[in-house]
Subunit: 246 residues, 2 copies
């Protein structure tokens, strides 16, 4: 495996293992790249991108500024986009759920993972979805839109719809937008209510939006009827689904 | 009233009145400022901000580049923000609706004005709400957030709620986000479905989200019951409201 060629040493971290303090070592190229990226993602997750410099990233990674530039010649913008891409993959992976259990339970499982992701990347998530930061470009917007499309695709998989019509697409798209907006409010409100309560609200929102769309669209009505047949009448979202979708 | 001091002439517009073609005239300062702003807003409405230059604005306004800079020393960013602020005021004014007729009819009236605004500012609206353009800053984000807050406040006025709790605020916030997302999809889809159909969908969404929130929140349930009492059972959204909210 390729090795770094010069000046690329791991410096001791604050509070790190004393034995490692003098163990400067070169990292294989791929390993170093991964380490820089995960360090950057950790920083970008909890502070707004405009408050993070290449020096911050270098210091947190125990690397030199020139080393960071060797891996990311485009500087902060490039490392931000790479970190964002890796976060987008992680988030998109959260959306995959096996077709087992009731549909509202599956949705709840996905939302549990999603809200854990949001909580784990709070400041970065806000900055990203809100926009308005210096590092936002059409490329970052495309990455975020890709995540939204990924979410919608997974919903359609579970709805077992191969060719969703306009009304159904708009309903799903609007629920995803609602989830994003509610997540931001949740972070702003100091993560109130608790994640499990918020997750239940968001499942209810889905049922509500689907019920509204089903009232005026045949395809959505068929999808809703098929979902309802898989629900159980004795658990929370199932009760609501039965009442609104019946 | 203050007059422009030099070099500030109105040039003939394409297809303009021939008699005005040679009638170069100085404009009073406030009038010129308004004219530059409305010209800029017109341009920003139909093209993405990164594709518009100060020269474009000067040409469209029949003014010179130095004149535009005299009024907006901060250049394109300043004129964009000023145009955005004026568009935000216009949009916020759309949300005001007298407390007459059924609640769903009032909501439909507001949405008619809103969708007319969206259609009239298509490219600019997309660029703005999507973010990802070079002219996006924390100030433009704050302006947009102000419009969202204005929309939510008007909803609470009609819900006759002075102190909305978290659940109700999240429901309204999520509906507003849904409306934004659906508007973008609507523009992307070549304004399909027709505006009046989309407006009905969005009213239905509101009913659906409110019904879902009412199922698990006492305040929302009270608000929903009070709204329902004002609905008529014989028109579209009223029928849905009766079914979902009862």
């Amino acid at each position: 495996m390729a090795q770094e060629t010069s000046g690329a040493y791991t410096l001791p971290g604050v509070g790190g293992d004393q034995r490692r303090a003098t163990a400067y070592r070169r990292l294989p190229v791929e390993e170093r790249r991964r380490q820089l990226l995960s360090t950057a993602l950790e920083l970008f997750s909890h502070r707004s991108p405009e408050h993070i410099s290449i020096d911050d990233i270098a210091a947190a990674a125990g690397a030199s500024r020139p080393l960071v530039y060797r891996y990311f010649p485009g500087g902060k913008q490039q490392i931000y986009e790479a970190a964002l891409r890796s976060a987008a993959e992680e988030l998109t992976a959260c959306f995959v759920e096996p077709p087992e259990g009731t549909p509202t339970q599956r949705l709840a499982n996905v939302l549990d993972r999603y809200l854990a992701f949001v909580a784990g990347h709070d400041a970065g998530f806000s900055a990203l979805v809100r926009g308005g930061c210096v590092t936002e470009t059409s490329r970052t917007t495309a990455i975020i839109d890709g995540v939204r499309r990924g979410a919608a695709e997974q919903v359609f998989v579970h709805l077992q719809v191969e060719a969703p019509g306009l009304r159904l697409r708009m309903a799903v798209r609007s629920w995803i937008a609602a989830v994003e907006a509610v997540s931001l409010t949740w972070l702003d409100e100091g993560r109130r209510p608790p994640a499990d309560e918020l997750r239940d609200w968001l499942v209810d929102h889905f049922v509500g939006i689907l019920a509204a769309a089903a009232a005026s669209d045949r395809q959505t009505a068929q999808v809703a009827a098929a979902l309802l047949a898989q629900e159980r009448a004795d658990c929370g979202a199932g009760v609501l689904a039965r009442r609104l979708l019946a």
